[in-house]
């Protein structure tokens, strides 16, 4: 089952909602179960000053997205880029093995948002690799299939 901390974040998620005029947004869908999160970031001087999320998914999905927003608020872009799914799992005090992909989903959302931000800043090309990164893991919950197909 879930740890107390996961349940806490699930029952009382922090940073739910949308940011008006976000610097960047990203959507990530899990190829495992078909769930989705959407991340909204406000970035100032290469620092994340605000983060919010919306979720269509399980308790682990909601908890990981929520704890992720807490982890990144106040971090520099470079530091945020270093966050791996395992860090999110650790921050929650562990997740059942079968729910690790929910943390992957959250990490993926962050990765995409930051890649988009690099493009906006002119630091990154919109090449095939970038487009695949954005689209690959995005799952349409209505069909349960990747929007790439």
């Amino acid at each position: 089952g879930y740890s107390r901390k996961v349940l806490q974040y699930f029952l009382h998620p922090k940073n739910v909602g949308e940011i008006e005029n976000p610097s960047v947004t990203a959507k990530a869908g899990s190829p495992a179960c078909g769930d989705m999160i959407k991340l909204y970031l406000k970035i100032e001087d290469e620092k994340i000053v605000d983060a919010k999320f919306r979720s269509y998914g399980c308790a682990a999905n909601i908890a990981t997205a929520s704890v992720l927003t807490e982890m990144i608020i106040g971090k520099s872009i470079d530091d945020a880029k270093k966050i791996k799914f395992k860090d999110i799992v650790a921050e929650l005090g562990g997740l059942p093995q079968i729910k690790h992909h929910c943390a992957v989903l959250a990490a993926e959302g962050l990765k995409q948002a930051l890649a988009k931000w690099d493009v906006i800043q002119g630091r990154r090309e919109i090449d095939e690799r970038f487009v695949k990164l954005i689209l690959a893991a995005v799952i349409d919950p209505l069909t349960g299939e990747s929007v790439l197909h």
Binding site: V16, I37, R54, S55, A59, N61, L142
Partner: protein, 382 residues
């Protein structure tokens, strides 16, 4: 106080059931061996045979047609593999919306060279009898259910058995979820094999019964001694069997009538929540204790956990909740979208469910769904 609406998963044993079980745990702990067990074992043997008689009588079978097994999964496997192996080759069919134990067992038969086919169902979960009819060429067995475990659809078994028998195949009926709620007569339904289980009718876990019509041949799955006439060798689980017998004795079809009324009330209440739809049929063709709805824009596991914290217990067809991360094949089978499955919840009543519980369940669900829709990407709109 927990509101337990997961009675299609398992039920609370009746106090009278527990009482007889304790007797066979504490004092009459023997186990039927051969025909001539010592007198100590006779108590156990007689109790087992008495339970067998009660169960047989309840479904209008004879005691020799009842074999005790450990659970419904074993019954499914024994019926399906047993008949297929006895026949040697041919086609084995099931509907698309059977329990996993049936679907996976049928599928496994390919390893032994059998052909298989999954018959489709309509939007309410009723088996497409024309499709069945046209797929029965070379069939040895059709495995299906009486009442669907997830959406409650009650199949037209008389029509199905006619078609199946016309084509020379046998019919195996998983009656686990209907048993005790709708009166079953194996002669009238004209089934060849049928399974019913104890833990879904306020009996103990650890036992189910397989009805095998006299003359139907099947090969056992388990080899061993000659218990259960060699069809199911092994230890006879006396306390569970005796408890099963008591649970059957306690069946009262008035309970089912009451449940059906509460079911309809709960369905009406839940459908008053916006963007909610019913899965399965309404009225008499639905199991009296089954409610299944899909809430748009939210995911079932989240709904379930929130409710759980507030003392309301049920199941969901969400992919997130399943061990293989796949959404309910039943909701998908009736043509529901991925989202319909993901946001589906099954609430199953028992004879002890009260009107007050039904109303409270609705209130909790309404509140939780509203809360989660606020978090949802879809925000309550598409």
């Amino acid at each position: 106080m927990v509101i337990y609406l997961d009675n299609a998963n398992t039920t609370k044993p009746d106090p009278e059931v527990i009482k007889v079980m304790i007797e066979y745990l504490e004092e009459k702990y023997g186990t039927p061996g051969g025909e001539f067990g010592h007198i100590f074992d006779e108590d156990a043997r007689e109790a087992v045979e008495e339970a067998r008689e009660k169960i047989a009588k309840e479904i209008n079978a004879s005691p020799e047609e009842i074999v005790f097994v450990s659970d419904e999964t074993e019954a499914d496997n024994l019926a399906i593999k047993g008949v297929a192996w006895a026949r040697g080759k041919g086609k084995v069919l099931a509907s698309k919306i059977e329990r996993k134990a049936i679907l996976n067992t049928v599928n496994r038969l390919k390893e032994w060279g059998f052909k298989t086919y999954e018959v489709g169902v309509d939007r309410k979960g009723f088996i497409n009898i024309e499709e069945l009819q046209s797929s029965l060429d070379g069939a040895v067995l059709f495995a299906t259910h009486l009442g669907n475990f997830e959406i409650g659809t009650i199949q037209n078994i008389r029509a199905i058995s006619e078609v199946v028998h016309e084509n020379g195949a046998l019919l195996y009926l998983d009656a686990n979820h209907a048993f005790g709620k709708i009166k079953i007569d194996v002669q009238k339904l004209n089934v060849d094999l049928m399974s019913i289980s104890s833990h879904l009718i306020h009996g103990p876990k650890g036992v189910a019964a397989l009805y095998i019509r006299k003359g139907v041949k099947l090969k056992p799955i388990l080899d061993g001694d000659l218990r259960e006439r060699g069809i199911r060798p092994g230890m006879i689980n006396v306390p569970s069997i005796v408890g099963f017998g008591k649970a059957v004795e306690l069946i009262n079809y008035e309970d089912a009538k009451r449940m059906a009324k509460l079911r309809d009330k709960l369905i009406d209440l839940l459908l008053s929540i916006p963007d909610t739809k019913l899965n399965g049929p309404k009225g008499d063709m639905r199991l009296p204790n089954n409610v299944n709805v899909s809430f748009n824009y939210v995911e079932g596991e989240s709904v379930l956990l929130h409710c759980d914290m507030r003392g309301l217990v049920f199941s969901t067809g969400s992919a997130c909740y399943s061990q293989d991360l796949l959404p309910s094949h039943v909701i998908r089978g009736i043509g529901g979208s991925f989202e319909d499955a993901h946001g589906s919840v099954r609430l199953s009543l028992s004879k002890w469910t009260t009107e007050e519980e039904i109303v409270t369940a609705y209130e909790i669900l309404k509140d939780v769904v509203e809360k989660l829709r606020k978090i949802s990407i879809y925000g309550g709109r598409k």
